[in-house]
């Protein structure tokens, strides 16, 4: 029988281990997650929104999505069931009853929250999602493989997938009108809102305005800004006159959305030490048991 000599064994093992260790140098690449102090945010005041749904029309128009004429958006019957953003509508408005003034229901606009620590950016297998310097979390069609892990990861259940397209199905979600904001225009929904329920600006500034409103009109709001800390903080933040749970906001902790998954991931692959160590231990066991069998 032929067995590799001890020297050959060590030599080959060292080469293999070195090759694995070398990989760690390039493993740093990944999607951008910029947290610029100037990143933009939006304050949605659900007590101001009148549910006209003009933002839905503006959003579809700005993103080249098919839309019925603006006049049809006055139809209030759509509020009978809760709707979610999908591939054909990146934002939707839902209605919830107002307990004290039933003639004034609350309207909640839903779209991507543009998290400060987005789960989609962390999860995406190919880094197709990135957090831009201006706060937008955007998706790159040239990278996406359509695995839908972003949808599994997103705590707000936002990314939507074109299930009925065989070739180049897209992941769709609000992109914070990145093409418009890069040209110094407002996001389409913010620009079109007739009652200024949406306030756009640097996140810190928007947050300051929200806190001011809570102080000025304490009877109007529940004393909380949804998105200030949720999932580690989001670009879009909400004020409401009812408990956020009643308005179907997900109940989330203050930890960044990726949670412990990144810690686990980086723990297992800390400079490839654990895998290489395991390799070495197994190699040692193999070598020793071999010698025992040989009676050396």
């Amino acid at each position: 029988m032929k067995l590799p000599s001890r020297r050959a064994f060590l030599k080959t093992a060292a080469v293999a281990g070195g090759a694995v260790a070398g990989l760690s140098a390039t493993a740093k690449a990944g999607p951008k997650n910029v947290l610029s102090p100037d990143r933009k945010g939006v304050l949605v005041d659900t007590t101001v929104c009148i549910g006209c749904r003009t933002c839905e029309f503006a959003c579809r128009t700005a993103h080249g999505l098919a839309t019925p004429p603006l006049e049809s958006y006055g139809d209030k019957s759509v509020f009978s069931a809760m709707r979610r953003p999908d591939t054909g509508a990146l934002t939707v408005v839902n209605q919830y009853p107002n307990a004290t003034k039933s003639e004034l229901p609350y309207f909640v606009k839903v779209q991507c929250m543009h998290c400060d620590h987005p789960a989609c950016v962390s999860a995406c297998i190919v880094g197709a999602f990135s957090k831009q310097e201006n706060g937008s979390v955007i998706w790159d069609t040239d990278r996406c493989i359509g695995c839908r892990y972003c949808m599994t990861a997103c705590p707000f259940q936002i990314p939507s997938f074109e299930y009925n397209k065989a070739i180049n199905p897209e992941i769709r979600k609000c992109d914070f009108c990145i093409t418009r904001t890069r040209a110094n225009a407002l996001p389409a929904c913010v620009e079109t809102c007739p009652v200024e329920a949406l306030t756009y600006g640097p996140r810190e500034e928007v947050l300051r305005i929200a806190k001011q409103r809570l102080v000025t009109y304490p009877e109007r709001y529940v004393n909380r800004i949804y998105g200030e800390y949720e999932a580690g903080g989001t670009g879009w933040m909400y004020l409401a006159g009812r408990e956020f749970a009643d308005l179907k906001f997900p109940k989330l902790g203050q930890n960044p959305a990726p949670g412990v998954s990144e810690a686990i991931q980086h723990g297992i692959f800390a400079y490839f030490v654990p895998p290489v160590a395991l390799y070495a231990i197994l190699g040692a066991i193999m070598w020793m048991t071999k010698n025992r069998k040989e009676g050396v």
Partner: protein
């Protein structure tokens, strides 16, 4: 051991009534698969924006990876720890792992929306993504498995290359290539064997990390930061039962005597491993105090109970019994329970535990989805049958004493 075992191609008719059923199931799956590639994923599956992952990820991919764990557990036992008496089960386990992972890759290929970009993770890296780690590890491990299987191919064909027609002129070069491969591999095979074990521990655990990021959407009975550890332990604990399970099926199918002694000794190792897995599973439950959710009667609590009682506790008790370890029938039952238990655990983690905040109705796989999954399993079984008939995989008693072989590499020509 008294009687020497030698891996030999099985000689029997390929077509049997059972094989015809498998062919029909495979064809049925392929029809729906064609629908998926022509009309999109939505035309065949019940997946939607609430439930982006379904049966294909849970069974074809996650359960597939777990049930192929026999490959690395037997390699660790037989090759790394040099427990030579288990060499008879290494090749069948290796073949299962090789075919299993091949179908995992195919499963991913059909589930992702842009299958033609499946190579993207090779060049577009995201180190923080658990899925990226799983993807890369599986890609490398599939390659390693094929390399580990190469010696079986060289053993079968060295000195027996008979190409038809004009290709005949290539006989000599192909034979030389096989011999060169064989020589090179016998010196370096240990590198691949250790790499296979390391890669397996990495991606078996990272498969558990996958659902950690979905934390807020996961049912508390399953969501825990130690998911990766539980996935790794369950994969290790299902490795040997899977080997026993398929060894007994193969013995029956090819009318061989089951290797009761070897299988019984393998079975004896299952109980401690299952015990460790159960200890972590229950320990985690008590630390997080999630047992309160078992008081409710719903899909989650029922599925959790099936996963733990039927998939862990009952087989654990069975594997502790001497009677079970000596009886092929009882060994088969106990192993089947572990195999089903781990399959249910993957379905639980990826489907039952996943409770999106805005689900309109629960997800149930469509007929098309089930057809594709069943079709893949049938196709895998058919390919396994074909492979053991072509290649020396399954060991049978040999009259003359076999030469000692290492790493399941072709024995030296006498």
């Amino acid at each position: 051991m008294d009687d020497h075992m030698k891996a030999t191609p099985m000689k029997t008719k390929f077509i049997t009534p059972g094989v015809i059923v498998l062919i029909l199931l495979a064809l049925n799956g392929l029809v729906f698969l064609a629908g998926r590639f022509i009309f999109g994923i939505g035309s065949v599956t019940n997946l939607n924006d609430q439930y982006p992952w379904g049966l294909w990820i849970a069974v074809d991919v996650a359960a597939g990876v777990a049930l192929a764990a026999g490959g690395f557990t037997t390699a660790a036992l037989g090759h790394v720890m040099h427990q030579e008496q288990y060499h008879v089960v290494i090749r069948p386990a290796l073949l299962t792992a090789m075919l299993g992972y091949t179908f995992v890759a195919i499963g991913v290929f059909v589930d992702i929306g842009r299958w033609y970009f499946i190579w993207h993770p090779l060049v577009m890296w995201n180190g923080s993504s658990a899925l990226f780690e799983v993807g890369i590890c599986v890609m490398i491990y599939v390659t390693v498995l094929y390399i580990e299987f190469l010696p079986v191919v060289t053993e079968r064909f060295i000195g027996r290359v008979y190409l038809p027609g004009l290709l005949r002129q290539l006989n000599a070069p192909v034979d030389r290539l096989l011999r060169a491969l064989d020589r090179g591999l016998s010196k370096t095979m240990f590198v691949f064997i250790i790499a296979g074990v390391v890669l397996s521990t990495l991606h078996q655990s990272s498969l558990g990390t996958l659902m950690v990021i979905a934390g807020a959407k996961m049912h508390p009975l399953w969501f825990t930061p130690i998911l990766p550890l539980l996935f790794l332990l369950s994969a290790i604990s299902v490795g040997l039962p899977m080997v026993i399970f398929e060894s007994i099926i193969a013995a029956r199918s090819f009318k061989l005597k089951p290797e009761t002694e070897v299988l019984g000794r393998l079975g004896g190792m299952v109980a401690p491993i299952l015990g460790v897995y159960l200890a972590f599973k229950l320990g985690d439950m008590f630390i997080r105090e999630t047992f309160v959710y078992l008081a409710e009667f719903n899909t989650a609590s029922v599925m959790w109970t099936i996963e733990v009682v039927v998939g862990i506790v009952i087989p654990l008790r069975m594997f502790l019994s001497r009677t079970v370890l000596k009886s092929p029938a009882l060994l088969f039952v106990a192993s089947t329970l572990v195999v089903l238990g781990v399959a249910v655990s993957r379905i639980n983690n990826f489907i039952v535990a996943y409770q999106p905040p805005y689900a309109l109705h629960p997800y149930l796989p469509s007929f098309g989805e089930i057809s594709v999954t069943v079709g893949f399993i049938s196709l895998l079984t058919l390919m396994y049958r074909a492979c053991v008939m072509i290649f020396p995989v399954i060991s049978v008693p040999e009259d003359r004493p076999a030469l000692h072989s290492k790493y399941a590499i072709r024995t030296e020509k006498s």
